[in-house]
Each structure stands twice: as C-alpha cells, then as structure tokens.
Symmetry: C2
Subunit: 361 residues, 2 copies
C-alpha cells in the first residue's frame, strides 16, 4: 500500500514514499545511496526505536551513526559543528550520504550539514514525526536557528528521497502528533479547501491515529506541498504561502526560548492570529476565521498567543523574519478557506490589535 | 583602462572589473546592490587602507561594517558566526548585500555567510590581494576551514560582481604578493602554456609590481579561471584541474596550523611536489618539471615541503581532501606545461617518494 509522489524539480526531482512498514524495506533506502559511505543522524528519542532497523538496511555500507540530543534548542550552529566533526573524523568524502532519521529538527540540521559538507553531499530524509512527514522533510529547506531568529541560517538543498513510514506515527508522543496536525490544517487553509472539509469530518480519526486517515492526510499534505515547491523552489513567490502562521509562530518560538513550544503548536496559535488579522483587514469572512480556529482547537492545539510575550516584544520578534522586504514585514493572510495571499499592505495598527486579541488572558 | 570579463553562468553570470582606480568608481559597486542594506566585511589590515573609500561609495545605503581579525586561522565557524550575529543585530533582511573587502579569507568566509544567511543573500567581491584577484574571488567557491581539513565546510555561491582594483596591490605585503604569483603560475602550468612562457619572461616585472604587467597577469588569470568555471561550475570535472598543487598545499596548511604558511606558499610547494610526481609517473618530461620549479623559485616562493611534517603524517593529511572518491585520493598531475589531468591511478609508493624527495632537508 505504498504511495509514491514525486517532487518535480528537473534534475533535482525526487520521490516521496508514503506508507506503513517502509523501514523494513531496505531497497527504498539503498537505491538512493551512491557510495559505500553513509551517516545516520538521529536523536536520543528516535534512536532506540528505529535506528536498528535503518542500520540493518545499510548492511554492506560503511555506516556511521551520530545521536544528537532531542529538541529544537539543539538546532543550532554548535550542534551542526558536531555533525561536521563526526564526518571528518570518519574521513567521509564528497560521495557520502547523510541520512536524517527523526523529526523536523533532525531533518533540518542534517540537511544543512549535507548542504555544506565539502560544499554539498547527498542526503535522505526518513521523517518519523507527523510534522516532518507532512512538511519539513519535503521541499529542501534546511537550516539552524540563531538566538535572534528562527531558521535564519540555512540552505536550499533537496534530498534524494523521502521515506515516510506511517507506522512510526504509532510511537509518537501525543503532543508531537498534534503539532503535526497544525501543518496539515495549514494546507487546507492556504490552498486546499476540499481537504479542509475532509479535515473537519476526520480530525477525530486523526487524533485517534487511525492508520488510513493518517496515511491519507500525509499523502494529501505532501501532494499539496510538492505542487507548491515544484513551481517555486526557492521561495520567489507562491512558496511563501506555506509560511501561513509562521511569522507569528517563529516569534513565539524565539520569544519563549527554542523548545518551549513545539513548532507546530506555535504555528497553530500563529494561524489563529493570522486568521484574525485577515478578518480585520476585510479579506476574510468572520465565520471562516471561526471555522479555522475551531478546527485548530479540536485538534488539541493552542489557539492563543502566549501571555508571556507582550505586544511590543511580539512585534519586535516578528520584525526578524525572512519575508521582510526593504524593511517592511510581509504576512500571509487568508481570503477564504483554501486561498491565501502574501500581503505587505496590512495596517500595522490592526496587526497590533490581532496580537492583543489573540493573546491568552 | 578598465577591462570587463564575464563569468558565463546563465542567469548567475557576472562581471569581473579589472583595472586601476576602481575603488574610486562608486557606480561599479552600487549598480549591483539591489536594496538599501549593505554590510562590508573586511579585516584589520585592509580596513585602514580601503574601507573609507568603499563606505563613501555606499553613501545613501544603510551600511554596516564588520572588521574581522586578519589571517587564515580566523576562517572558521566561530568567525562565521560573528557575521551572522552582526547581520541579525542589524536586522538585515533577505535583500541585504554582503561586500567582501579583503583577501581570500575575507572573500571565502563572507561569501559563505551570504550563501547561508536567510538561505542566501547577494554578495560582492572586492579582492585586495593578488591571490584573491586572480583566484579566490572568481568562481563562487566559498567556505571555512575545519581543524581536520581545509575548506571542508562551504557552498557554491556566485557573487554579483568582482571589483579588482589593481592599485590595491601597491600596498600589499611582499609575502602576500608572492603568494598570489603562485596561483598565476598555476594557470600557466595547467591550461595556458603560452601564459607560462610570458611568465618566464616577465616574472621579475611582476615581482617589481610593474602595473602593466600585474594588470595583464590578473586579467589573463581571471580569463583562464572564468573559462573553466563556465564549463564546470560545481566541479564535476574540469574544474578539479584548478586544484593543481592544492591537495599537497592543504596538507601543509592544515598540518602546520592555519596561518603559518600562506595559501599561495603552500600551493607553490605543492605544485613542485605534484610536478615531481608527474615525472615519476612518466607523464611529464623531467626538463618540464625543472622549468616549473625554477619559475616558482624565481617568484620567491617555497619549492619544498616543510620538514616539520613527516611523510606518514603528510599522507594522512592528504587523505582528507574533497577530491577523494570512494576512499581513494585523486591528484592533479601535469602532462606538459599547459596540460593537466585528474589522476586516481598514480602509484602510492611514488607519491611517498615525491613527498620525501621534495621535503626540506
């Protein structure tokens, strides 16, 4: 029951394999590894669960393993350096393949290490969290955080393949599962109104981890993302829409300290704020915003910005964003459920109002 | 008397401006800066000489300056982090332009910072050393060193333009000037036999800094390099030839400690060793190797490997090289003056002999 999608990027095109039991199929992995050298980068949570299975698949390769601590707070230049140290200590050459086994943090930092090691080596994504399977493993955005801003240092570097074994979701912490639902809901909101309707009917099945529902949601999310990435790999235009809720979300993550809120949680609250602003800007019907926020709440996700960050500081944090252009912030706003736009022309007073209105009381 | 060459890379094509007095021509710089934000990265040696002139050209821009310490030992991840810190402290956005004002170290590290900041911002090279003007500023190789290997972490990221003001060579330290001559001689050896003949006749004029001779050598070197880069931007093939002498050279730099030998000095001694090996391999006539070594000596450059690194360690250091493929080292060897080849089939015993024969007594 494996599904294969393709991210169409010319000579950088690659497959996304989605389905149960994929970690037990070595050929999916090995067909994308060119040389005998491979390094699996994973974390302390994932290693006891899945590392053995991946290493078994890699019998016959010269395989090294690097186990990093788990958490967004380790997605930094210091941890990145550890990957370079390990690669050089093992004398891995330009043909070596890096394999990211874990969630979004592992995927982002391993992908960035692959982008920079000897000016670029191949890498493979094996996402084990819902968020990584539906979002971060697809599209080639890699990077690390800086104390002053999330994902501020990185590269575009496409993987050779993505192997999304949906069985891995069975061992996922409930909070991590919910964080993944945030990005799934995002696709419904920004570009796939029909999927949003499906999510309204099926959110409880997803929360209950019904395999069929999860597989469908992963596949449809990847399909939506792959379509956007194919037309705008380096975020010159349409790809920015994928950042719906993210400027607010990044402000939460940076402001609260990396690792306090999960990325998906921050994005969930951020999407509620962005929906609120869309209404204030007269773009979105209030009832549509209510539906968006209601679905996010039903997914068990936060719908309010943290009270610890006051409005002035929140605006300050938002000002450090990769979508800032010529000094002015651009945000993704909704026109309807299923249609988003990039806007640099919103009223700053209304942004302030949205932040205040959506903050925890 | 400005010459303009173009590095032909499709939509990433860019001009190299070569000539005297170019730092006094603001339009060369500003026409390549898209937004109002610019950061000049330079070092303590170059700043007192040329920073004012560049800042004057940038009047009207929001311009920040970062002055780094001078030396290869600072081309590392820690110094790179300082550039990111400065960019984020200044809240520079994705439209900001980085300007590298200095030698190869400044160009490499600034270019790499530009490659990674917000996943890529534009940058401009203003090389002030001979080595940077004839080699490192052209072609988009950027990066930093790792304690275990030179240039092991980096990216391909092409500049928007290169401004090579040959007047800057007047203030250059004699040792730095000679280091640049090494890379100039390299072009003659690997791909431009006619230029080698010219160098045999004009090496003393270059050492005496005759402006016309220097301008000609810079222009011809850039032309040779641009031609190679145009056919092989990411070093899939022909571009590797530009690394003639560099695997030996990098071993010297890493083994002696970064900053002890200048890059050009290490490459000079490395080219002598590579010429020696080319003879032992039966590829090159002994008289041709003698001519190559004689010219390098006349340029005032080292022609012997340092006695501090014994043969075993030297081989060890060479094994960490970006040209290693499937575990085996590849070297650039000469077939004649003006013709080089990539070889993975040399006899390891002969490599050992060459290292011993070319070491200082």
């Amino acid at each position: 029951m494996m599904k294969t999608l393709t991210v169409e990027l010319g000579e950088r095109s690659y497959p996304i394999y989605i389905g149960p039991g994929l970690l037990a199929r070595p050929e999916l992995l090995t067909r994308h590894i060119g040389s005998h050298q491979a390094m699996v980068v994973t974390n302390e949570t994932v290693a006891p669960l899945y590392l053995d299975r991946v290493l078994t698949s890699l019998k016959g390769h010269r395989c090294e393993t690097l186990v990093l601590p788990d958490g967004e707070e380790y997605k930094d230049l210091a941890t990145l350096t550890r990957i370079f140290d390990a690669l050089l200590a093992a004398r891995f050459d330009r043909g070596a393949t890096l394999i990211a086994l874990g969630g979004g943090v592992i995927g982002d930092i391993t992908g960035f290490a692959a982008a920079c090691y000897q000016r670029g080596v191949p890498f493979i994504q094996i996402p084990t969290t819902l968020l990584a399977q539906v979002d971060s493993s697809v599209g080639g955005k890699t990077g690390v955080n800086h104390p002053l801003g999330k994902n501020m240092i990185g590269a575009f570097h496409q993987p050779r393949c993505v192997i999304a074994d949906t069985d891995a979701l069975n061992t996922l912490d409930g909070r991590e599962l919910r964080a993944g639902l945030a990005e799934i809901i995002k696709y419904g909101l920004i570009c796939d109104g029909e999927f949003f309707l499906w999510l309204e009917s099926n959110i409880d099945r997803l929360s209950a981890r019904e395999p069929e529902a999860l597989s469908y949601a992963v596949e449809r999310s990847c399909r939506d993302k792959a379509a956007v990435v194919a037309v705008d790999e380096r975020e010159g235009g349409a790809r920015a829409l994928l950042n719906f809720g993210h400027t607010f979300g990044h402000a939460i993550e940076t402001g609260m300290g990396y690792g306090e809120w999960l990325h998906g949680e921050a994005v969930a609250a951020g999407m509620c704020a962005a929906a609120d602003l869309s209404v204030r800007e007269g773009l979105l019907a209030p009832a549509a915003a209510d539906r968006a926020i209601a679905l996010i709440a039903r997914a068990g996700l936060p719908i309010r910005l943290p009270r610890e960050i006051d409005t002035g500081r929140f605006l300050d944090l938002m000002a450090v964003d990769k979508k800032v252009q010529a000094g002015s912030l651009r945000l993704i706003l909704l026109q309807s459920i299923g249609t988003a736009v990039v806007s640099g022309r919103f009223d700053p007073a209304r942004l302030r109002e949205s932040i205040e209105a959506r903050r925890e009381r």
